[in-house]
Symmetry: C2
Subunit: 331 residues, 2 copies
Amino acid sequence: MMQTSARLLALLSLLQVRREWTGQELADRLEVGPRTIRRDVDKLRSLGYPVEAAPGVAGGYRLGAGGELPPLLLDDAEAIAVAVGLRTAASGGVAGIEETSVRALAKLEQVLPHRLRRRVSALSDATSAFGVEGPRIDADVLATLAGACRDATGLHFAYVAKDGTATRRKVEPSAVVYSGYRWYLVAFDLDRDDWRTFRLDRIRGRVRPGGRGRRRTAPGGDPTAYVKRQLRSTGGDDTPAARGRIRLLIPAAQASPRIPDRYATVEPDGEHACIVSTRGAWSRNFLVWMAVLDVPMEVLGPPELAETARRLVARLGEAAAAPPPETPVTS
Amino acid sequence: MMQTSARLLALLSLLQVRREWTGQELADRLEVGPRTIRRDVDKLRSLGYPVEAAPGVAGGYRLGAGGELPPLLLDDAEAIAVAVGLRTAASGGVAGIEETSVRALAKLEQVLPHRLRRRVSALSDATSAFGVEGPRIDADVLATLAGACRDATGLHFAYVAKDGTATRRKVEPSAVVYSGYRWYLVAFDLDRDDWRTFRLDRIRGRVRPGGRGRRRTAPGGDPTAYVKRQLRSTGGDDTPAARGRIRLLIPAAQASPRIPDRYATVEPDGEHACIVSTRGAWSRNFLVWMAVLDVPMEVLGPPELAETARRLVARLGEAAAAPPPETPVTS
DNA sequence: TTCATTGCGGACAGCAGCTGTCCGCAATTA
DNA sequence: TAATTGCGGACAGCTGCTGTCCGCAATGAA
């Protein structure tokens, strides 16, 4: 009947749905004898899944935390939640786990039923309106690229270079790398017959699969290191000149935990102050975030940032003017 | 041997790790004959997992997206990414899927090996610095409570009532509910012998398991509806008076997509303006979000919000003052 | 076109191992 | 103390898994 294997999966699933089951309940559910349940539990244990059991009238079986993660059996809604969570984490919502999130996302999206996929897109689109600033990356693209790297398939896409020229690329991808500020694709460009790194935010339109590719390993073996080298040599556009710099009159130790690492760095400036620099070009949001900290601060540069700060002050000034003083703002 | 069931799981796992496998590769990996692999693939298919196969020199097996989600086999790093993603989603980072995220989180954390658990906590603590404002809820507490509801175990915790009096509660939980602004626990209070709703942000210290409980169903059957009724009757502190209200000089249709639904509502005010109201009490961040929109606006109330706006203006004004004009700010 | 590669699945023989039954034992709680 | 619940040995029967061997079909490269 193909029972025994299916039943093991079903058993695992049942144990994840509820905490406590008596052997009899499980037996009824799976339509076998209690003895078989005991044997199945043994099997799960010998597979490494820690099924705990307690004898007595309050007893039963439960799935505990073991050395290894059992296969997760998610229902539709839970799968959506996981996918959405991973997408926000990957596209910059959570520091430090972007690349892992993308890997997990690729794994999940590969098997995600189509009916769920649209709901995931809908949900994560709706929520990407806010969030920590940074180049906005489409999680679909991210998942597609990560999947292609894993599966060693070719890719076609349109790319806009730094100087604005648009090209069509045919590549064999190797890895997707997050620099702490931007996403890059390390790939072998078939037309140019050499390695290239592509900024994901410069990829336009849909990314299309491009047939079977060879499995490629980035020059030097470590794609992250490769991207770092490339960025150093070409400079990138994350030039220091474009970075926003603000001096906060609190010690660095106090500021750091309140500032997302992926977005800005904090360096001490003496004992009682520190300098916060954006990793990439500054944006309005940088200012706003700093203002929220509600500590004395000073814009060090660039001048445009200070200018923007003044505009923001004007904007907020208008808004705040309602109750008492100057220029009453009415439409 | 215990092979056949274990092998099915292993096969599923292999198919999730890489996209393309030939039958021979799989056979070598699992140390069985190719014929057995074909049979196993058949078994997976008959279990509902869509294993696609292509004949020919470019052929092989792959796991496709099917009608049902197969068990996800995550490695350690991926599991951490999933857990962290769910935690941010649950504690308010992503609109609309909070409760589902909590459910998935409870499922995952139940089986998460201990060595991974601390890393999850470490990562999600580090990243909770920013994000959409709202009562800050510890994801650990959330997962604990959700698990207790699912497993129908009792709970002990310390609770601070609205008037500030602290009590110890022994309850049998029924459900964890998200109002769109706050988290609530619906539970049967054993000492008071009646149902109560508890605001999660008023729970103090650790939540402890309190022995076996009965499975409880919230009055009326629908915990969400129950919480809504309770909130309406007691008023809660999310009174209209505490809500922040700001008028934006753009049509509601333009504003809505840029404002997280879970945090604020947008109502049209004539054709060219709209009024944004926070769902709960306003916070500094409300101002900030509105400022980021960079459209003309007007604080309608409450007065404290306007006052805060002025403070924020002053803060930014200092900062902006650096380059040219008035009061130079130096430490 | 031709050939190599790869998946498909029927038939068969041998036997591994799964199943249910029956049993006594141990732990836990009321 | 009694009831509940899990544990696991023994056994008989037979399900169904495995490897082998076969010819067929689809695909892509030479």
